[in-house]
């Protein structure tokens, strides 16, 4: 059987044109997908049942037992942390927020270690953006800054930018100018019309230089800025100003390098400036398939996109204080529930080490590095494979993930709801 128009839940591109061949309740072939999609659907190895750490190893336990013990751990905690959420659907995220509100927990999502700085910049200066189809149909200048979509978002260029045929850009390859800005020559740099190689930590200076040139102040720019020649900077600024429609996409090379959220602010302000000459937009390349959804759900429910602390009864937000990494690194947190993410692999060592010290429960379809730090791991469905639900693409377009096969696992939303009900004295949400 062939399932058409399947949505790949892996990255923020949420490509929705995959074809999956299913036989006997299994996915046997992935068509139209990139290598990451193929791996997502084909290498889907899961635990058969929940497991609990023992003195010497692990034991299988029932879902009922695992849910009961998780509720007890959370109930007994003074400073519980609910973290992750970015690889599951909005329905599970929403119950997560309800749990956090009920028990006065901190709830945070993976933005904290990816585009958190982008959010901080947006909260200062806003976000001139658009849906990806605007770029596909209109953009004649594409800039990839501090990112490597060929590796991380393999179909971004073919579906939305460089190679995508658009209404006003019928001959994409010929009509589009692609600029890649990075500290190293990546595969993406290989296809650029203009590659701008910046010295490490030089992004802020280069963005400032471009802003100055766009504002007509080229005379103040020295011969080289962070390794980039003035001639190239002037050329880039000219390409941008004379574009019909320009789009900047940026990644963790900009958010997590020196300057962090100030880099993003500078890039947004460059975009703002360019809008006084032509049309320009900017967008983060979001990683996890539904990380943007976790921002959206958190925001309409609590007012904040990440790092929400309910300890005082109200929703309180102060990144740097209420962010998961900081709460763990300070050793403040005394129990953790990790859902649909892998902080064990992505967090700084001190933060991950604290997860191993406290009772940590993982709800995730797959065994990952966090499993090794946890007390209990509860396997569940994977959103977009054996569970349906809502995900938000990197540009905010909401897409319904499909249930392609049934593997007999409970949905994480269902597990979370049972935990909620126990915490709420048996009263249903």
């Amino acid at each position: 059987m062939i399932e058409h128009d399947v949505v790949c839940p892996f990255c923020g591109c949420l490509c929705d044109d995959l074809e999956l061949v299913c036989e006997g309740g299994k996915i046997v072939k992935v068509q139209n997908g990139c290598a990451l999609a193929e791996s997502t659907f084909m290498n889907d190895v899961r635990l058969p049942s929940p497991i609990r750490r023992t003195e010497s190893g692990w034991e299988d336990i029932s879902y009922t037992e695992a849910i009961k013990e998780t509720a007890e751990i959370l109930q007994g905690a003074d400073r519980p942390l609910l973290y992750g959420w970015s690889s599951t659907h909005g329905e599970a995220q929403s119950i997560g927020v309800h749990i956090a509100e009920l028990i006065g927990a901190v709830i945070d999502n993976t933005s904290t270690v990816c585009h958190g700085p982008s959010i901080l910049a947006i909260q200062e200066v806003g976000h001139p953006g658009c849906t990806l189809g605007q770029v596909k149909n209109r953009a004649d200048v594409i800039i990839y800054w501090g990112c490597n979509p060929i590796e991380a978002h393999p179909r971004h260029m073919s579906r939305y930018t460089t190679y995508a045929t658009g209404f006003f850009v019928p001959d994409a390859q010929r009509e589009r100018t692609v600029i890649v800005v990075d500290t190293r020559r990546t595969d993406t740099a290989g296809i650029a019309d203009e590659f701008v190689q910046i010295e490490h930590s030089g992004d802020y200076a280069v963005l400032s230089a471009l802003r100055a040139i766009v504002r007509g102040k080229a005379s103040v720019i020295p011969a080289k800025v962070a390794g980039v020649s003035k001639e190239q900077l002037i050329r880039i600024a000219e390409i941008c100003k004379t574009a019909k429609f320009g789009a900047i996409f940026f990644g963790l090379g900009l958010t997590m390098s020196r300057g962090k959220y100030k880099n993003i602010r500078n890039a947004i302000e460059l975009t703002d400036e360019l809008n006084r000459h032509t049309k320009f937009v900017i967008s983060p390349l979001r990683g996890h398939g539904n990380v943007y959804g976790s921002n959206e759900v958190f925001t309409w429910m609590t007012g904040y996109p990440f790092a929400v602390d309910f300890a005082r009864g109200i929703a309180f937000y102060n990144p740097g204080e209420t962010t998961a990494v900081d709460i763990l690194r300070r050793g403040e947190c005394d129990a953790a529930l990790i859902v649909a993410s892998d902080p064990g692999a992505n967090f700084p060592r001190a933060a991950a080490a604290h997860l191993a010290k406290i009772p940590t429960v993982v709800i995730d379809p797959h065994v990952n590095a966090t499993t090794a730090l946890s007390r209990i791991h509860i396997p569940c469905t994977a959103a977009g494979i054996d569970a349906a639900g809502t995900a938000y693409r990197m540009d905010g377009v909401p897409i319904r993930l499909k249930k392609v096969i049934d593997r007999g696992y409970p949905d994480d939303a269902e597990i979370l709801k049972k935990i909620y009900d126990r915490l709420n004295g048996g009263k249903e949400l």
Partner: protein, 566 residues
């Protein structure tokens, strides 16, 4: 079976011609009935003002840009926050509250039905997700068509039937309620950073004009027999001198429907400016209302602004960028492929700004100069003009010349010469206010026969009981009591359940979402149109099969089916 017997209610129900009668209202299973058994729960209204549940026919409370307004504004989230209390969830935000914040505060003010003013079809799923989290109001979504490529193609071909077919397909896919045009054509031009300056200017690349879009969509709307009319945010919003565009637009609207208006013009305050610059801007409310008073086919809403900080958010992307260039505050923009645009910036309306004072005066003038209150509804384009929690103050201003005079005395100098507000003696009465906050909305939206906006037998039991005794309060003098009274109902009843008492929500909500399934002849079904499908698959970034909103997003969807046209 649940029954409620509301006794001693001082009822104003304009649709049924009831004006201040002391009477009982009986409710069974969510609807108003002839009588109830003696086991019914009794509410003694103590002769307090009792109205059908409030209806907001143009507000921004859910969806992509509203949520982005929250996302980018932690300063506002801090400005209004409440703890979990009983059945109430935590809330954050003042001018762009969280969904629960919106729902609780509207409910406390007696509002039971809201129309989200702007939903991009591509992002409709998001709007519906937030509707579900706005539990105490029934919801409807205006669906954006201002820059819709398929619509503009059909308009260019002068094909009303095809236009109607595209509308029907899109409304169904988005689970939308009615047609919204925001700066028609202008949002497409903004795709390349341009805007339009008049209704007869060509939309770049599409060879249609806003006037053609508006008139064709009006015809298509009536062909489809949609319950609501075309809902228009005129071109040139917020520009000095724009009243000319507004008048020109009103002049091309035919009178096609005996049951309601043919055009709903929204937030007209923002479209009623004289002068040519910010220095000589003036009120043209008299000219606008003269036009509306002579055209029963037009209903407008005020778009009142109130002083203080708020957030502007609209599909009108170019307007927001212009505003950003004036305010130099943060700016977000979000264009939606093949459909529309949007922008967001925070603003502060100040009494020290003559421009802001004139804007404030214009909204009130529009309401006071419109003869028939059914033609000028009370709104702030929440949160653009002010957050909706300011409605009671607006009611106070409309009912009291003294209150207006006291406010006028605090405004920037020079305002008096450029508006006529200070000279207006009219004071609206309780009945006018009931029309402007529920009956008028129900009629304009075409939901009277859905049991909304009145308290007749069979109507949905959506009722607001305010702690106001109309026989003992003189609104002209005691306007403070009026304002306080409208801020917090004694009881808000939603579909036969008391949901709010003295400002606190006491039950979990269970709202419904109304949407329109407009029927078209078999040969006009867009899902079978090869050219439509081809263009869709070529230019959108989602597959056509993944575009329509699934039923699971409307747990209590109420489908309104129209008759097939021929």
């Amino acid at each position: 079976m649940t029954e409620i017997w509301v006794k001693n209610a001082c009822v104003i129900d304009p649709i049924r011609g009831i004006n201040g009668e002391i009477m009982d209202i009986t409710i069974r299973d969510g609807r108003i009935v002839e009588s109830v058994s003696d086991r019914a729960d009794v509410i003694d209204a103590q002769r307090c003002l009792t109205l059908p549940g409030g209806i907001d026919s143009h507000t921004h409370v859910s969806g992509t840009k509203v949520n982005f307004g929250r996302y980018m504004s932690p300063e506002d989230m801090r400005a209004g926050r409440t703890k979990r209390k009983g059945k109430m969830h935590v809330t954050s935000g003042y001018y762009v509250p969280t969904t629960f914040g919106n729902s609780y505060r509207y409910s406390a003010m007696g509002y039971t039905t809201l129309l989200e003013g702007a939903m991009a079809p591509l992002e409709a799923r998001h709007t519906h997700e937030e509707f579900t989290a706005t539990p105490h109001q029934d919801m409807l979504a205006n669906t954006l068509f201002d820059g819709n490529w398929a619509v503009m193609d059909a308009v260019r071909e002068k094909d009303i039937r095809k236009t109607a077919a595209v509308v029907a397909w899109t409304l169904k896919a988005a689970r939308g309620y009615g047609i919204k045009l925001t700066n028609p054509g202008g949002t497409e031009a903004w795709g390349f950073g341009e805007d339009l300056t008049g209704i007869h200017e060509m939309v770049p690349h599409f060879a249609v004009t806003p006037a053609e879009i508006i008139t064709t969509m009006i015809r298509a709307n009536e062909l489809l027999k949609l319950p609501h009319s075309v809902h228009l945010h005129c071109n040139n919003l917020g520009k000095p001198g724009n009243y000319q565009t507004t008048l020109e637009t009103f002049d091309i609207v035919p009178d096609l429907n005996p049951d309601r208006q043919t055009l709903y013009a929204t937030h007209v305050q923002f479209h009623a400016y004289g002068g040519g610059t910010w220095k000589n801007i003036s009120s043209k409310a008299e000219e606008i209302t003269r036009s509306v008073n002579s055209k029963p086919q037009i209903v407008m809403d005020m778009g009142q602004i109130m002083f203080g900080r708020t957030m502007t958010m609209t599909a009108d992307g170019p307007m927001e960028f212009n505003l950003h260039c004036l305010h130099h505050n943060k700016w977000s923009n979000h264009d939606v492929e093949l459909e529309t645009g949007s922008g967001i910036i925070p603003v502060t309306y100040s009494k020290k700004s003559a421009v802001n004072c004139i804007m404030w005066a214009i909204g009130l003038e529009l309401a006071l100069l419109t003869k028939n209150p059914y033609q000028c509804l009370l709104e702030t384009d929440n949160p653009n003009g002010a957050p909706f929690v300011k409605y009671p103050e607006i009611i106070g201003l409309l009912m009291s010349k003294r209150y207006r005079d006291e406010e006028c005395a605090t405004l920037a100098t020079g305002v008096e010469q450029r508006t006529s507000l200070c000279a207006l003696e009219r004071e609206l009465d309780w009945h006018d206010i009931a029309v402007m906050t529920r009956a008028g909305q129900a009629k304009a939206l075409g939901i009277i026969n859905q049991g909304k906006g009145h308290l007749g037998i069979g109507a949905e039991a959506d009722i607001a009981i305010y702690p106001i005794r109309t026989d003992s309060v003189d609104p002209a003098r005691e306007y403070r009591k009026v304002v306080e009274g409208f801020q917090k109902t004694r009881y808000t009843i939603k579909r036969g359940r008391v949901v709010s008492r003295d400002g606190d929500i006491i039950v979990d909500g269970a709202n419904a979402t109304f949407w329109v399934d407009a029927k078209v002849p078999e040969d006009l079904r867009m899902e079978n149109d090869p050219e439509f499908i081809k263009r869709f698959e070529q230019f959108y970034t989602v597959r056509m099969s993944n575009y329509p909103v699934q039923d699971v997003y409307l747990p209590r969807g109420r489908r309104i089916e129209t008759e097939v046209f021929t």
